[in-house]
Each structure stands twice: as C-alpha cells, then as structure tokens.
C-alpha cells in the first residue's frame, strides 16, 4: 500500500495492583495520593496521548485464605480520581474501568455524564464484568449473576446507560418539563423516570471492552468503541486484529469504528543491550523470593511457604481437587499439571532456582530497546495492522512514563507517525482519537438484533 502511514496512538495505564508495579524502586511514590495520578496524567498529556486509564478494585486479593500482601495493593475509587484529575488537566482523556456487575445504570450513567461535562468531553468507560461471589461479599446482593450472563447484563447495562445519556434535547436551553424522561425495561433492569444530567459534550463517553475471548470480541464488535487487549507477538496481533475487525461489517460498522489498543510494557535504555540489562533487573525486582513462591502456589494450588525460592521446584504435582488458594485474580494457567511438569523440566535442564524459573517464565516486556528501537517496533505494529494504538503500562509510580515521553515520542514524531499537537481544538476524547460521534442507542441495539436474527435464521435454514 502506498498511502500515507497510519498514525500511532498512545495512552497510559496507571500501574496496577500486581507485581508488574515495582514498589521497591527508590523512585516509587504513593499510588494512592492524588498528586501521583495528576503527575502521570500531565506527563501523558505532555506526550499528546489519548487517555489515562484506570482499573477498578472492589476487593483485596487473597492467598491461602489471607490478604495477599506482596504486591502494591489498595486503590482510590476510579471515578473520584478521574474527576480530580479532570480538574488538573486540559486535554488528556479519562478512561475508567467500572464493572457492569455491581454498579447500576442510573448511578453510573450520571457519574459518567458528570465526568464528561466537567472535563469538556474527555470521559471513557471500560466495561468489565465480575460475577464472582468473592467480590460480591462487599455488596448488598452478594454473588448473584450466573457466569454465562455476565456479558448479557453488561450489554443491557450499556444500552440502558446510552438511553439515559440521550434523554435530554441536544441543547439544554430547549429543555422543558419532559427533559430526561426515559424508560428501560428488560431482563436485567426495570427503570424509568427522568434523568437529571443534560447531554454531555460527547453524549456517550467512549466505550471500552477489555477481554480477548471470542465472546468478548463479539461483545466489543456489537457494543464498544475500543477493545483493550493483551499484547501478543506481531503475527498473532495481526490475526487478532483481522478477526476482530472482520466482525464489524455485519453490525453496520467500519474498520476504524472499533479501535484495538493492546496493553504493553516497555523497558528503555541508551542502547538495546543496555535496555536488555535493565529488563533483566526489572524482572527480578518484580519477582522477589516471596513473589516467586506465591506465583508457584497459584499453579500448585497449595501452600509452598516452606520452600526456598533459591532452591529447586517441588517434585510433586499440583493439587487439583482442593479449593482455590488464590482469590480475586484472573487465572492464566489452564492446565496446572502440564505447566508444573514443563517448569520442572526447564529448571532441571537449565539449573534454575524457583525464582530464576519464575522470572524466566514471567510475561516478557512487550517492547525492550533503545528509544529508536522501541519506536520502530511499535510503528511496525500499527502499519501492519496488529494494533491501532497502545496502552503503555509503566512499572513505577508516578514517574514511569516520563522517560518514554521524553525519548520515544520525539522519535515517533521524526518518523512522521505521531502528531506535534492534539489533532483538534476540541478536547473531547472522540476528537482526540478521531472517532466518529456517538451512535444512538437504538442503532446499536437494532444492529445486534439483526445480527442475531440472521444467525438464528442461518441455523434453521
């Protein structure tokens, strides 16, 4: 193709409550203080990024029946932080994760509409689900939602929220006694009345979906503007991109209507060799001896606290029939016995301790190299359609983004794939991301209904 190059989009993930975040680094500061969030948001804004992304926590993780104490833990409420950050920034988008399982449409819709108003249209909602009884113990209703219904409620939740966001006339000046009147009656919700927030600048905040599964991709194609995905190698990324984008046409959507943003880690250095050395140091900083044992415990599903992290792996197989030792975290290992077997073989062949093995088997940093190398590799993903942008995940709060903005972004600008200013005078995130304006709720739901009717007819034919 000889057309002009696709531009690179970047965003920033505030470091999360896992061992990717290195709290032992002497530069690491509070991950709760509002000034840490403002620092990272202002750095992202200086780097002309699309948005700052926050995860959500609703229960502290547990291990062996006790609160897990090895990682950064605790975090302030997503929307409260984003509202504060909105008051200290001008352009950066404000993306918050909130579960469709334990929130309610009326409350969440007015909170997002408020954020969109106060920020001049910079709000985004990452819709996730959390249908487990463990999280439910902090809520009135407990664990109530069967796992297969998690996306059904989420989809219906978004429809309800969109209905509320559209319930006022285009100009609040035209509002009368009926402004905000709405009704949403469905399997999951039976709500009606008058919404109290006038249309916000974007009308609908940008909607994200996080998750790579087949049903997650379909959910994104039918309901979302952005899909937040895991990083993968270039060819796998291209396959994911092609598959996900191919689902859009039947919903009446074009390739650019759903953006793919993998979450990526990175390690920079003066040279590629320097960066590789730093990556190795960081991997050990992310895996203390205690963290290495805990990582093993999640695979073996039993208490291994008597093992020496600098010694050999357990010679017995994982426990399959016991209760889960780890609570409140997504499981990544699908076949523990096979994983344990493979790890023992690797450790034996390479003479690795538990900690060495865990570091070796931990997820690799996505991009490692000099600023020039990282800029070129990232650009390749964009040009070859393995991604539309990246959500950068730093390892240190609050300064972990600074070096990237100071060194990689100038390289991307020199390459002609990154802008020198925000693309629009309008601070709205839809303008910053060059997304279309909002699509009405009825169009979304009608398109999905048509797709499902066609699928049913196809099965019957």
């Amino acid at each position: 193709m000889s057309s002009s190059p696709r531009r690179v989009h970047l965003a920033a993930h505030f470091p999360g409550v896992n061992n990717n975040t290195i709290w032992s680094d002497p530069r690491s500061e509070s991950h709760i203080a509002v000034d840490s969030f403002i620092h990272m948001a202002q750095t992202a804004e200086r780097g002309l990024m699309d948005f700052l992304f926050l995860a959500e926590g609703l229960r502290l993780r547990e291990m062996n029946g006790k609160i897990y104490d090895l990682d950064v833990m605790g975090r302030p409420d997503t929307l409260t932080v984003l509202s504060a950050v909105a008051g200290a920034t001008e352009r950066i988008g404000l993306a918050g994760t909130l579960t469709a399982t334990f929130h309610e449409p009326y409350e969440l819709a007015r909170q997002f509409a408020t954020l969109d108003h106060l920020s001049g249209g910079r709000a985004a909602w990452n819709v996730v689900t959390s249908p487990d009884a463990f999280t439910g113990e902090n809520f009135r209703r407990g664990g109530y939602l069967p796992y297969p219904q998690r996306y059904e409620r989420a989809e219906d939740f978004i429809d309800a929220a969109r209905t509320l966001w559209e319930s006022w006339p285009a100009s609040a000046q035209d509002a009368d006694d009926t402004a905000g009147a709405y009704e949403h009656r469905s399997e999951f919700f039976d709500i009606s009345g008058r919404f109290d927030v006038p249309r916000s600048p974007q009308v609908h905040p940008v909607i994200f979906q996080a998750g790579d599964s087949d049903s997650g991709r379909e959910f994104a194609a039918g309901s979302a503007d952005v899909i937040f995905t895991r990083h993968s190698e270039l060819e796998d990324g291209k396959a994911f991109y092609k598959d996900t984008k191919s689902r859009l046409a039947k919903y009446g959507r074009a390739e650019d209507d759903l953006r793919i943003y993998p979450g990526v880690s990175y390690v920079l250095g003066d040279t590629d060799a320097d960066a590789a050395g730093r990556a190795r140091e960081q991997a050990y900083a992310q895996h203390s001896g205690a963290t290495a044992i805990a990582t093993l415990e999640r695979v073996w599903n039993t208490d291994l606290s008597s093992f020496d992290p600098d010694g050999p792996l357990p010679d017995f197989d994982p426990v399959l029939d016991g209760p889960e030792v780890s609570q409140g975290r997504v499981k990544h290992v699908k076949d523990p016995v096979a994983t344990a077997q493979r790890w023992r073989e690797i450790a034996q062949a390479e003479n690795l301790s538990i900690r060495d093995l865990v570091v070796r088997e931990s997820p690799r940093f996505a991009f490692v190299g000099s600023a020039d190398t990282v800029a070129r590799k990232m650009n390749q993903y964009i040009q070859e359609r393995a991604a539309d942008g990246f959500i950068l995940i730093p390892t240190v709060v609050p300064g972990g983004l600074d070096e990237f903005v100071d060194t990689v972004i100038p390289r991307l600008q020199e390459m002609g794939v990154y802008p020198d200013s925000y693309p629009s005078d309008d601070p709205a995130l839809r303008a910053t991301m060059e997304l279309n304006e909002y699509r009405p709720a009825t169009e979304w739901s009608q398109a999905r209904a048509d797709v499902r009717a066609a699928a049913t007819n196809g099965q019957e034919a």
Binding site: I32, P76, D177
Partner: protein, 336 residues
C-alpha cells in the same frame, strides 16, 4: 487545638425557584467552581453540594444537576483552603461504594472534605435505580445510621501505617493492620445487608471525614436520632435551631451543630446569633446558591466579627476536621 471560631459555610447548589442557572455555564462546572472560589476568598470553612437520585428540582430551564461527589473531587485541585461536603444518599447506593468514594474524595482533596449522609425518600429515586422499594422515613434513617457505621468501619479497616514496603520479606503491607469489617445491618425494607471488607482504599487522609447529617422537613428530628449519634456535624433549620440543638446535643454532646439559614434573609443579627451560641450552636450554613457567595459570606462574618475572628487565610494544609475543631479520629481496630 485551639477553640475554632464561629463556622461560616455556604450551600452553593442552585435553590429551586430562586436561582436561574445558565445551562451552558452551569453544567461545565464553571459556576460551581466560581462559587467555591468566592466562598474560599471570603473565608468560608466549606461548601455543601446537595445531591439525590430523584428527579432534579427545576432551577431555571435546567431541571438537572451533576453528581455532587465527583464535582467535589473535581474542585479539589482547583481550590486551596476551602473544604467540600457532597451529599451521599444511603438508600440505593452500595455502602461499600460510599466508603470507597468518600475515602477517595479525602485523598483527592488532601483532607479538605466531609460527607453529608441522607436517605432518598422519594418514589422517583426508587424507580430510577430500580433495585429497592420506596422507603418510609424511620427505617430509611435507621439504615442511614447503619450506613454511617459501616462506612466508618471501612475507613478504619486499613490502619494508617499498614503500608510497610518491607524489602527484607517482600511484603508491601502488614496484613495484621488490615481488618475485615464483617458488618451486618438492617436496610429500609427490614432486610439484612452485609459488607465483608476491608476497604479497597487506604485510610482517609483525615482518618475519618467529618460526617454530616441534616434535619430536613421530610422527617421528624426523632427519626434522625441514630444518625445524629453517629455524626460529627448536625445541620438544623434556623427557624427551630434553638430547641433542636438542645435535643441534638443531648443525644450527641460532642456534635458540632450548625444553623442553616437563607442568605437572602436578614435573620442573622448579633442577638440571635448570641442566643444560638448559648445553646451550643457553632456556626451557620448560608443558603447562597451558586451566585453572590462572596458577598453573603462576608456579610455574615460582618454580623459576628468578634466570633469569626480575623483569620481569613487559614493554613492551606488544614483539614476540615481541624477547621471544625474535631479531635483526631481514632481507629477502633488499632492495637486491638
């Protein structure tokens, strides 16, 4: 700690039928920000931001409003000494979320925040949220007392020094300083509700945010007794503040009682204020709406100059607890 001077505060939410708001300016937040800055300039201790989940009262063409807690958080970085006190409604919102949102607001304002708890008594709030029936006043206020209790426990569920970053053992926190709250309360429909804890948010900057309750016309004062006993600050209508203050201070002798008064009325004169002070009233909340706040606060201060004192530039680091003369918050779980 020195005895606080007479507290002057402003409620900057538009007053139905009085303040006509310009939607273009109001919903961008500009008017609210200006009101908070004007109140700050005039030396007010805090601004109140009303909220509910029912149909908004009409105020000019816009019968709308913004979520108060988020507006308060947004004001945090844009103000320097004034505190913000949003309303949280206890009937439909999850108690766990009220705990995390309020704690986060305290972090977002460096300790310049309080929270006013009140039930949602309207049928339209119940229809909007769609989870629970419309409650009557007594059980809804009883539930409010339970919510205040569990929120305070959630604030206590992280001891202040729980984060240890101990490299020798690889531990980020000392989990013996984190506490399950295992709360069981009764909701407004007489059903049990439980909250496990601990909070997801570390202990608020102030330990506990000052907890406000207000006696509004929609319930008798007696219905509020449980909530008043749990509160730090009790707002009473100026018309009946004398006898009500006596009752409130009997139920909760350490409460800070404030009289709520229409800023446009000339009711605030030195003799009346002197009588209020005699029965234990510590200050006033002026119903100013979002406009002309500075003038109203300065006028009130001029009525009682000897009580207000001359310090119009409070320490920028001073917390709302300190400005209200509240003692440091203790933690029920510490050294337990």
């Amino acid at each position: 700690m020195s005895t606080p001077s007479f507290v002057i505060a402003a409620r900057i939410t538009p007053r139905p039928g009085i303040d006509r708001v310009d939607p273009a300016k109001y919903f961008s937040g500009a008017a609210v920000r200006q009101a908070a800055l004007d109140a700050e300039t005039a030396g007010a201790a805090f601004v109140l931001l009303d909220d509910d989940l029912d149909t908004a009262p009409a105020a000019g063409p816009a019968a709308g409003r913004l979520s108060a807690l988020q507006t308060a958080a947004w004001l945090g970085p844009q103000t320097s000494s004034i505190a913000v006190v949003p309303t949280l409604r206890t009937t439909h919102t999850e108690p766990f979320l009220m705990g995390t949102e309020s704690a986060s607001l305290d972090w977002a304002t460096h300790g310049r925040a309080g929270v006013l708890f009140a039930p949602s008594l309207g049928a339209d709030a119940a229809a909007n949220v769609g989870r629970r029936a419309t409650p009557s006043a007594d059980p809804a206020w009883a539930e409010t007392a339970d919510v205040i209790d569990v929120v305070r426990r959630l604030w206590d569920s992280w001891e202040a020094d729980a984060e240890i970053r101990d490299q020798a053992t690889g531990r980020f926190v000392d989990r013996s300083k984190l506490h399950y709250v295992d709360f069981s309360g009764t909701d407004s429909a007489s059903e049990e509700f439980t909250v496990k804890g601990p909070s997801i948010v570390p202990r608020p900057t102030q330990g506990h945010l000052p907890v406000f309750v207000e006696h509004a016309p929609d319930a008798p004062l007696e219905a509020l007794r449980g909530a008043v006993e749990q509160a730090d600050v009790v707002l009473l209508p100026a018309e009946s503040v004398g006898p009500e203050a006596v009752k409130v201070l009997d139920w909760n002798p350490s409460a800070c009682v404030l009289a709520v008064i229409d800023a446009d009325a000339d009711a605030l004169d030195p003799e009346i204020v002197a009588r209020w002070v005699q029965v234990g009233v510590s200050g006033v909340v002026l119903e100013t709406g979002p406009y002309d706040v500075e003038l109203a606060v300065r006028a009130a201060a001029g009525v009682v100059p000897e009580l207000v004192g001359t310090d119009e530039s409070p320490d920028e680091q001073s917390t709302l607890r300190a400005r209200l003369g509240l003692p440091p918050a203790e933690n029920r779980y510490a050294n337990a």
